[in-house]
Symmetry: C2
Subunit: 507 residues, 2 copies
């Protein structure tokens, strides 16, 4: 199979254009990282215009008609037959990005930018005063624009699918509803069993005073053990932990410290470390091709949750980590056992705030948001009715009352930023992680023993081989199927949760 000179030239030209777009995206990411970690307060003034200029050019380059012509020409049947599988994957992802970018009229993009800027501002005020009416008018505008966006992007069944696809390519309501329904039922029944248990693990080992610098040392040691390459990345502090990548050889993660709760910084570190290992695992050759991205946000989240929860909240992990912790904090944890830590980091509680939720109730917070988002994007529910809907679903799913909107419908910033379709990727991450983990346990039978010795290399090698090295080459569902031999299936998550919490709560 030989490739014609014309096809080769067109491929090279498209690659050149994509490489520039990737370069500019990474440059914008540097500005974003600096803003969250280093920038002095008054720097915000010009940072906004710097970022706007960069994003404007990225958009301009992506929607360039020449990109569309190259795509069309390369997609024609005779050219397709000439191309290797990797080149076809390249065309598929660039076509997707091009279509999403060109389908949105400039006016809609601009209106959304304005509406979400105003929305974030009014959401901050609304949350601090716990007043829905402050945020509702802006949210109404944002919802209307997101509904327009869905129509512009197009969808087969449900307008929400058009938004979901942005974060989880190929995901649809038709696919997620049964998945999440199943997960919800199993979770609720698990919660009921926990309610009936007399056992209540104590968080006391975590809630002492822990020197910040020593916490940082502990986090860094564990990151190094996980395989995070500090020659190709670094960890800093930000208000909200995050991971960003300027290519696989420069991956930045952040954490935040609470001197009175060891878990805050440490689990942020492992979580972001999991994201960071994924980003560092992208092959150099893919990095500037448009394929050097994550397969989806769900896949990205599967990596962070796998390290944070499946590994980092296991008893095997604390067998390894506790002696390390004791050298740094002898006064605090001298008499603590791995079993104590295992209980402390896995306490289950029906609570109001998603970001503070445990592994079990977390998914209920997501499923609630998924249901509300679907209905609001479908136009089935009005913005004014969101607080009461939120409170009713919180009672239904979590069994608790919402005392005020600040602790309910106003708790997350996502909607103010126009991020509809984003929440489900958190639970997809949990589902994928559990399914990957079940496969890892099968293929590395002594994995627990390895973890208890701090030997994470076989796990990282497995993830590199099955997930990281493909970048965005496969769609998320396909990637999971290739990695585990099975399409995404919620049974692995519910089985894992049942076994783990059965052990802790004794059922």
């Amino acid at each position: 199979m030989s490739v014609s000179a014309k096809t080769n030239d067109q491929l090279a030209e498209l690659r050149r254009r994509v490489a520039e777009i990737v370069d500019l995206g990474q440059a914008a990411a540097v500005l974003g990282w600096d803003q969250e970690t280093m920038m002095p307060p008054k720097g915000a003034h010009f940072r906004a215009t710097q970022k706007a200029a960069l994003h404007g050019i990225i958009h301009e380059r992506l929607v360039d008609p020449k990109v569309g012509q190259l795509l069309t020409s390369l997609e024609n049947a005779s050219a397709q037959k000439e191309l290797a599988e990797l080149d076809r994957a390249f065309l598929r992802v660039i076509r997707r990005d091009f279509d999403r970018a060109t389908k949105l009229p400039d006016s809609l993009v601009k209106d959304l930018a304005i509406a979400t800027t105003e929305g974030v501002e009014s959401w901050h005020r609304a949350r601090s005063e716990s007043r829905w009416d402050i945020f509702a008018p802006d949210l109404r505008k944002i919802v209307e624009l997101k509904r327009q966006e869905a129509r512009c992007v197009g969808f087969a069944e449900h307008p929400y699918d058009a938004l979901l696809d942005e974060y989880e390519p190929g995901a649809t309501c038709a696919q997620l509803i049964p998945l999440f329904d199943d997960l919800r039922r199993q979770t609720v029944s698990l919660l009921e069993r926990i309610d009936r248990s007399p056992r209540r693990p104590s968080r006391a080992p975590l809630t002492q005073t822990f020197d910040r610098a020593k916490q940082a040392t502990f986090g860094e040691r564990v990151l190094r053990r996980m395989g995070f390459d500090f020659e190709a990345g670094r960890e800093d502090v930000s208000a909200h932990p995050f991971t960003t990548s300027f290519g696989p050889t420069d991956v930045r993660i952040t954490t935040r410290y609470d001197e009175h709760d060891l878990a805050v910084a440490f689990y942020a570190t492992i979580h972001e470390g999991g994201h960071g290992l994924y980003d560092q695992g992208i092959p150099i050759d893919l990095a500037r091709t448009g394929l050097g991205e994550c397969a989806s946000l769900g896949i990205h989240e599967s990596q962070s949750r796998l390290w944070e929860n499946l590994i980092g909240r296991s008893i095997a992990f604390w067998r390894f980590a506790l002696p390390e912790l004791k050298t740094l904090f002898p006064a605090q944890v001298a008499n603590v056992t791995p079993e104590d830590m295992f209980g402390a980091v896995n306490q289950v509680e029906r609570s109001l705030i998603r970001v503070e939720a445990d592994e079990i109730t977390y998914n209920l917070h997501i499923i609630l948001r998924f249901e509300i988002e679907r209905r609001i994007i479908a136009g089935e529910v009005d913005v004014d009715d969101l607080p009461s809907l939120w409170n009713r679903l919180t009672k239904d799913y979590l069994g608790i009352d919402v005392p005020n909107d600040a602790m309910g419908v106003l708790q997350d910033t996502h909607w103010a930023s126009g991020l509809f379709g984003y929440f489900p990727t958190y639970s997809l991450g949990n589902l994928y992680a559990a399914q990957l983990w079940a496969t890892i346990r099968r293929e590395i039978p002594d994995v627990d023993e390895r973890i208890s010795r701090g030997e994470f290399a076989p796990i990282l090698a497995w993830l590199r081989d099955r997930i990281h090295r493909y970048g965005r080459r496969y769609r998320p569902g396909e990637l999971i199927e290739r990695a585990t031999g099975e399409a995404p299936n919620p049974v692995y998550l519910t089985r894992y949760l049942g076994e783990k919490y059965g052990q802790i709560y004794g059922f």
Copy 2:
């Protein structure tokens, strides 16, 4: 005087385009800062392509024919008459940038980028092995390309003028030769008087062990006193201290620490702090107009040198700073007097390395380079003859022998980077600083007393008023004349040096 709608539209369009170019330049500066201060080693791989993409677009936007059309149309006589002085200054600087950018063929820009990348690489090797022959072939290429650049840019008298103009707009050999000749003669005679003096101030107070964190505290306290706004800037560590600005509300300075020499970090901090105060002093309104830059590198250097040398190496300064230093380093400086510090930081020595030179001999290093650069760009001397020319001039001006090329002609990276015409701005900075300082002393008669109390606000206010607030609105010579009432004149520097060193060395 009313401005026509057409002129207004054209001005607005040109301003919009310039604002975007400024935004992108600031974005590139963020990437540069991160690279020197934060980036993990492997990050260099993709940082190069990120920066190349940004600089490519900045160039593309600047040389856009539409920019040329707008300039031509706005420059015509009738439009000029309509315009305010600030708008005419705007047109002048954008015309200058546009012309410099468009006069260079893309092929020359590319060839220079390659030649200097290779040059920096071979220069590093050449310096470490002290072998001129490793660097000479690359330098020959670079010199040839810089001579081409000079021809493309154009010049009235000397090809070197075309290169000088890049860093010091309007500066020419015709103007600098007598200025520097005078400075050289005065400096040599001053050195002879110092040679005859029996006094030798001791550096001992500086060369003890100084804890790094406490050095940082000392530097930060002095920066705050100087008026550096840490809400609009920060100080970090880098291998070579520098200042960079992402707009006046985000100015980053760096320093580097030597635990066994207090002067290293401290004078880097004041020096870069002086640069930083200039950048923070640019009015917000000018920031995205193309006028929100420094008037020239010489003017920028005048600000750093004024704070570092005229203020920071004065006895009045140490009357203020020494008590502060004693609280941090009681064991080291308890018995040191301001007079001791004054001597210690002003020791004069004929030495080989420019960056380690004192205030007096420093200018001889520059004048030597100025002479060599002029002759090489004029084609009067061959690359092969540079080491012997360097050694001869070092003997003539500084009276010392050069033991090897690493400590001579290979000591600076500038030529490897193609920076011909840059060195003179360092001495221009010294000249301007002394002239500004003479004016400040006249207009603030109690300035020494103020300094000895740590009251720098009147000095900063004066610099803001006479220099900072104009940005690039006036050419450097004009700016100095407006600030001091006189065109640049070397007498102020030689008089200042004579008085100061007379005091120290007793003549």
